[in-house]
């Protein structure tokens, strides 16, 4: 999505009605963020929007990037927000060998997830959903869902994007693309100045 360097643009303050509706869609997409939402978007905070190329918008609070979206598609968290609240987002894990590909903007392929170092959801359910003792998400994730990508041996997430294949099918087929055009560590969005 942001393989190239981005030029910072002026930020514009959002009306409180827009802020409220963004807060609502954030909660709808990421119900696990509910315990943290007041910390992410304080009621009195002033959320700003920065227009990016290719019809993308980045939302910033006090100079901190929070989330972004293309057109009016589903909101995706900026990786810095994922690092602050990792429990708020469903995730999968790639093996160590796949890291350098993901960090160069390549499409994430199934073998990086089905190998011994990878972790796809266990699908065993349970409330609330989360990571089980084997580091697997407890709910199978659907095609089109936003997902955070963690990495074998690392604490922090390295990418975030939309699944182009449901995790159940990824396990069954064991090949093919899983996430295309992710936002990843070191990409243009990561390096963009938001102060």
């Amino acid at each position: 999505m942001f393989k190239k360097d981005l030029q910072g643009a002026p930020k514009s303050k959002l009306k409180s009605s827009v802020q409220r509706s963004l807060r609502q869609s954030l909660l709808t997409t990421y119900p696990l963020l509910a315990p943290y939402i007041d910390e992410i978007l304080p009621k009195k905070g002033s959320l700003e929007a920065m227009k990016l190329p290719d019809r993308a918008t980045l939302y910033v609070l006090d100079g901190e990037p929070l989330f972004f979206q293309v057109d009016t598609n589903t909101l995706l968290p900026h990786l810095k927000l994922v690092h602050r609240f990792p429990a708020g987002f469903p995730s999968i894990r790639i093996d160590r060998g796949a890291i350098r590909f993901v960090l160069s903007g390549a499409t994430l392929m199934a073998p990086g997830l089905t190998s011994p170092g990878g972790r796809l959801p266990s699908g065993k359910g349970g409330e609330p959903e989360g990571l089980d003792e084997d580091d697997r998400w407890t709910r199978e994730l659907e095609k089109g869902e936003p997902v955070v990508v963690r990495a074998e041996g690392k604490t922090e997430a390295c990418a975030v994007g939309f699944l182009v294949e449901g995790t159940k099918l990824v396990k069954e087929k064991g090949k093919g693309p899983v996430i295309e055009d992710a936002h990843y560590l070191g990409d243009g969005l990561w390096r963009l100045g938001t102060e």
């Binding site: 609240f85 890291i99 922090e156 102060e195």
Partner: protein, 199 residues
Amino acid sequence: MADTETAEAPGEPQSRHVVYCGVCTLPPEYCEYGGTVKKCQEWLQRAQPALYQVIWSAEALEAATASLSVEAQKRAAKDAQKKAAQAEKAEQKQADRMANSVVTIKRVERNKRKFVTAVSGLEAFGLDLKKVAKEFGKKFATGSSVTKVPSGGEEIVVQGDVSDEIEEFLLEKYKDIPEDNIELVDDKKLKKAAAAAAA
């Protein structure tokens, strides 16, 4: 990495605070992919010695490579080498560029006894003009903004005659700019000289 779990009490901030690399900006555990590993390591050892131990100790490195096949290890090593070479080349290029670039601080007479100071060439030293303009404004308590110049680039225009102060400030704050690469120009004298030459 540091244990950042906090008790679940309402009102308690739950946000984790993650340290990012002062060189490549990634979480330090990902520095190996950034192409500036050496510099990253030096920074981390200085800034976060404990974290440095966790990430770069012999045991940690062994655990990191153990799960890769020999083939994959070879490829990763080659890749890292290539990236480091690229980073070195880019650095050299930037160093050359900086050595050959000049920052011009020009005193311009607006009208009688009113001056502005125009600063150009800072972008060659990797500086964000908007940021620097803001700093000038704060430091000298005066108007300061980025404006386009007819030749296509941009310069910072500061209200008042603060040429010497700006030079001093730049030398102190941005050590990448060598003193010899800063040029002070007086527009009025230039005009006079031009007029004299034309006469």
